[in-house]
Symmetry: C2
Subunit: 141 residues, 2 copies
Amino acid sequence: MEHNSDRCRSHCPINFVLETFGDKWTLLVIRDLMFHGKRHYGEFLASDEGISTNILADRLQRLERDGIIEKEVDPSHRSKVIYRLSPKGRDLLPVLLEITRWSGKYDSKSNAPKAFLTELQKDRRRLAARVLATLDEADDR
Amino acid sequence: MEHNSDRCRSHCPINFVLETFGDKWTLLVIRDLMFHGKRHYGEFLASDEGISTNILADRLQRLERDGIIEKEVDPSHRSKVIYRLSPKGRDLLPVLLEITRWSGKYDSKSNAPKAFLTELQKDRRRLAARVLATLDEADDR
DNA sequence: CGAAGTACTTGTAAAACGCAAGTACACAGA
DNA sequence: TCTGTGTACTTGCGTTTTACAAGTACTTCG
């Protein structure tokens, strides 16, 4: 039983987190962390899309400030820094999966493997669980 | 049975559609179309976020070029233009819903209604169906 | 100790954006 | 028919952001 103003229909959600989703490089860094096992500054820098070093430094700082990633000096190699997704960051997986699905369906430039897209359609939960398990495995050491 | 290079773990998807997801204003326009029933240039312009008119014109043009929205002169008011989501555009709903979920969970500035978030968690399909039905209802005239 | 690796910082030119004003067409009333 | 208003843009320009190149600081390795 809703009688809304003309500014707002029967459902009226959403206020975006624009610094996260409205920025190209932020999403690419999260993608690299989530799917490509990247952890070091130089690895992000080496992505095909070619992020500039000053922009990367800025985005990593914002992501840490917003609690999406966590930063740690590599204990075994103290000139390196390890970046990891926090639980809040890992919880972005469903968003990335839906972007992957849409991208794979409509974008000819998508390079998502067919097996991945198929499993995404058939058993999304299992796929998500596997991705998260891989993250755990990589980070627990 | 996969043995990948170190550039690519056991799963290795994703190539983003960066012009769509990596841009703040593009996502906001899609949000307004999907959830707020907006159809006219002036309505997008009036969003709280305050998009500039030249940027709005640019984004609408890109969205139409990419087949995400469709443009039509309003038959009953020929100085007005109606913008609608295409099927490809409507298929972005799952992405927006996941963004809404994450945003509602972690962003204190999120203004998504609790009832919406609850239904999103409990019966995502029904919620999605309702949103799409509302779009159909609004566009079939 | 010197060279190479890693993570940044700084400077500068190019690009994108924000803001204000202006244009073009449709419509409604005098 | 003329005038004013509504709607959808376009244009110009100053500001901000980005891209590219170079430089700095700390660490590791031989």
